[in-house]
């Protein structure tokens, strides 16, 4: 499989503190690549660097084998889409917010609206089309946010814990719909989470990040069966204990 996006020797330091030090990271075409780790592990920083939203102090990003220069960042960024944990919209209607990314790419308003409508339907929120985007509930907003990202028909999709702020019922139905869309589109996906369940559900490959450093990389199965460090073992055990407690509460 061809590598779509790759990061080499990435280092991010803020106010003298090293937040991220990743020697190599690469996403192959069509794969779903998860990055997992506790809060403060540097997951979101890594996503911003890979999505060309933050310039690292050191390191390079390659897109389809070509090194991305400063001049090309916007052009390459237009081949990507990002869904953030907190869906934010401009002060406009839902449909206009979805069409915005397409308008930015120079697509005519009418065509952009048609494409936006299609993706609203795919995410089962077509009835929200003319609603004021900032008046949506959490679940609705995240569905619209996903529709906005898919409407761009990106080559790489970045997800920054998009399901973490939702209640369990909304989360369950959204994950099911999202996974169905993702399967049919086959978009290369980079997603970060602190939930092992999401990794097990979606990911082909997973990278564990702790304290800004890669602790392990492999398939989700390998991670569960053979965690390489004690810290990772404790992380997995904590997750299993939490899941067990949750099951007992139900």
């Amino acid at each position: 499989m061809n590598t779509v996006i790759e990061g080499k020797d990435i280092m991010v330091r803020i106010r003298g503190k090293e937040l991220l030090d990743v020697k190599k990271i690469g996403l192959k075409k069509g794969e779903i690549f998860a990055v997992i780790g506790p809060n403060g592990a540097g997951k979101s920083t890594l996503l911003r660097v890979m999505a060309l939203l933050q310039v690292p102090q050191r390191g390079e990003i390659y897109f389809k084998g070509e090194k991305i220069t400063q001049k090309e960042r916007i052009r390459i960024r237009r081949k990507m889409a990002v869904v953030f944990q907190e869906p934010l919209f401009l002060n406009d209607t839902v449909i206009e917010n979805i069409a915005l990314g397409l308008r930015i790419r120079g697509i005519k308003h009418r065509e952009a609206i048609e494409r936006a409508k299609y993706w609203l339907e795919r995410f089962k929120v077509e009835k929200l089309s003319n609603r004021w985007a900032r008046s949506l509930s959490g679940g609705e907003a995240q569905r619209v946010s996903l529709a906005r990202a898919f409407a761009l028909e990106p080559e790489v999709l970045f997800l920054d814990e998009p399901f973490s702020n939702l209640d369990v019922f909304i989360r369950e139905s959204l994950i099911a719909d999202f996974f169905e869309v993702l399967k049919t589109t086959g978009i290369t996906t980079f997603f970060i989470t602190h939930d092992l369940e999401e990794v097990m559900l979606f990911a082909n490959r997973v990278m564990v990040l702790m304290g800004g450093k890669v602790v392990q990389e492999g398939t989700p199965q390998e991670l569960l069966e053979n965690p390489k460090t004690d810290e990772l073992k404790r992380f997995i055990q904590a997750w299993e204990r939490f899941k067990f407690k949750m099951l007992r509460m139900l």
């Binding site: 939203l53 960024r77 953030f84 934010l88 002060n91 915005l100 990314g101 930015i104």
Partner: protein, 236 residues
């Protein structure tokens, strides 16, 4: 009390009977102050965008200068511009002193810090995360400026009104660099000063009511837009 009443009556008569002098002065005032406001906005918008989103040494110093400039006395600006444009001054060759252009220059100097400081504050209030969202959509810096300005449009509109209000009501700079020449550089405020100094309080009052009416119309337009936004957000 009678004088105020007579002044109000005269203002209405002047407006209703289409008094040529009054219309000329009012239109000239609108033209000069409107142009100065537009130039100030054209300078302030990109500058405010740069200040709002970039981190650079001296950023706070620059913002504090703009904030200081909000209280710049028009007579001081009038003096500086006058010295610059004076026939023996550095820009004397341009022969701009006592021309409408000179008033536009002076008023631009007065309005720019007001608009710059308020637009900077408005753009800084646009959520940083929203900026990241816009960036992730693939926006160019120019598209980002446009979208951020659209997002802060009501505050920017308020900044424009404040800037326009500051110059349409100033008298010192217009008097010093324009010379209050009848039919050429006379604006409403300088006409009010002249009529007052001549003891024509009714005329001065009439002009002041017209100036107030202009200010009120501007405020009303802003209020209308703000109320419309409220309706939009809640879908009612």
């Amino acid at each position: 009390m009678d004088t105020i009443f007579e002044g109000l009556k005269k203002a209405i008569v002047m407006l209703v009977t289409l008094d040529a002098d009054i219309y000329r002065i009012t239109l000239f005032t609108l033209k000069v102050s409107g142009l100065a406001t537009l130039i100030s906005l054209a300078i302030s918008l990109p500058a405010a965008f740069f200040i709002a989103i970039k981190e650079f040494p001296g950023k706070n110093f620059l913002i504090s200068l703009a904030n200081l400039g909000m209280g710049l006395p028009p007579t001081v600006v009038g003096l500086w511009v006058c010295l610059l444009l004076w026939r023996s001054g550095p820009l004397g060759r341009l022969r701009l002193i006592y021309t409408p252009t000179a008033i536009v220059i002076a008023q631009t100097v007065i309005a720019t810090p007001v608009i710059l400081a308020l637009v900077t504050a408005a753009l800084q209030q646009v959520d940083k995360k929203l900026r990241l969202h816009i960036m992730s959509l693939g926006a160019t810096p120019l598209q980002m400026l446009f979208l951020m300005a659209k997002e802060a449009r009501y505050s920017i509109l308020a900044a424009v009104i404040a800037g326009f209000g500051a110059i349409v009501s100033e008298v010192g700079a217009s008097m010093m660099v324009g010379g209050n020449i009848a039919g050429y550089t006379r604006v409403l405020t300088t006409a009010i000063v002249l009529e007052t100094s001549k003891g024509n309080f009714e005329d001065a009052l009439a002009l002041s009511f017209i100036l107030l009416l202009m200010a009120y119309l501007g405020t009303m337009a802003l209020t209308y837009l703000q109320q419309r936004r409220h309706e939009d957000e809640y879908g009612n």
